[in-house]
Symmetry: C2
Subunit: 206 residues, 2 copies
Amino acid sequence: MTARSVNTQNDIPTLDSLVDALRALPGVGPKSAQRMAFHLMQYNRGGAERLGHALLQATATIQHCEHCHTFTEETICATCRSPLRDPAQLCVVETPADQLMIEQSGTYSGLYFVLMGRLSPLDGIGPKEIGLDKLIQRATNGDVEEVILATNFTHEGDATAHYIGQILRARGLRVSRIARGVPAGGELEYTDAGTIAHALLDRREV
Amino acid sequence: MTARSVNTQNDIPTLDSLVDALRALPGVGPKSAQRMAFHLMQYNRGGAERLGHALLQATATIQHCEHCHTFTEETICATCRSPLRDPAQLCVVETPADQLMIEQSGTYSGLYFVLMGRLSPLDGIGPKEIGLDKLIQRATNGDVEEVILATNFTHEGDATAHYIGQILRARGLRVSRIARGVPAGGELEYTDAGTIAHALLDRREV
């Protein structure tokens, strides 16, 4: 068993390089990499070739938006360039996927700042890695009146929101955090006590 | 939830192409593909570029050995070309990884035939896909005296061995199957009854 999980050398240099290179993918160890390489070479060479080109094209063209830090092919992303967005609101999210979810909710028309991560000192992700300087600069540009913190409600997301919130409040900005509560369609009987506690604390007059 | 798992369009063409292309990898759905693409673009562009080149190089150079059907960069693989291998024995395995394991056992010096799969009618993998014609041609070339079936002891591997065994025996070849039994280091108390039954049936005089 041990021998197999360690030795995945096939003595075919290009195949061994491919197995090695596949390990750049998150969560892919030596055995999955070997399985993926075999699968591609045996059943999906067209897909392998397309993936190869897509990777080279993406590394060559994708950069970070100078304003909001999200991925874009241009200097400034389409959202930041749009004259329809309200520059008085700045929503801080962890990833482009989170930004996409907020866009899909159809309730927000302000601008974004994408941290491209969250504070996680154990993984070496500190204020610099999430672009805090850029965020401060952006939030204090004179246009922004309110910063909405929409990081995840995980420990790290909460800590990130708390940290950013403190710094921006100290600079006189209005800072809010999206509400925790019972999800749409949720039944109280099946909702955890922590969520109900937050739903009560964050209650609003109707 | 549903919206998120369906919509992974980022409106950045090269990023969306990369997410699509990553789905060629086995077991990678739209959400893992998105996560992989973000990870590569954010934390490992060097790895992404290396993977791109490795994929293109591999699809361009890796082919099947004309004799044993395994992956190789040449027409005939190194094992088949070796004058040290005994051409009287032909070991049939499912994958190059299985061949590697047998090589590592250090007990076999014959040649191989790699099926590159197993019979699996439901997945559309029949005798043609595992190169049965080529195997018959190879096994009846006059050199081969014994064919050792070393497919896996799964339902499909067993069925494949049974099928190939019948066909080759009908052509007058000696056909054997590797032994099922208690693994090295295994204790009977913790071995399943089916394995013990086979260990008893396949017992050998000492």
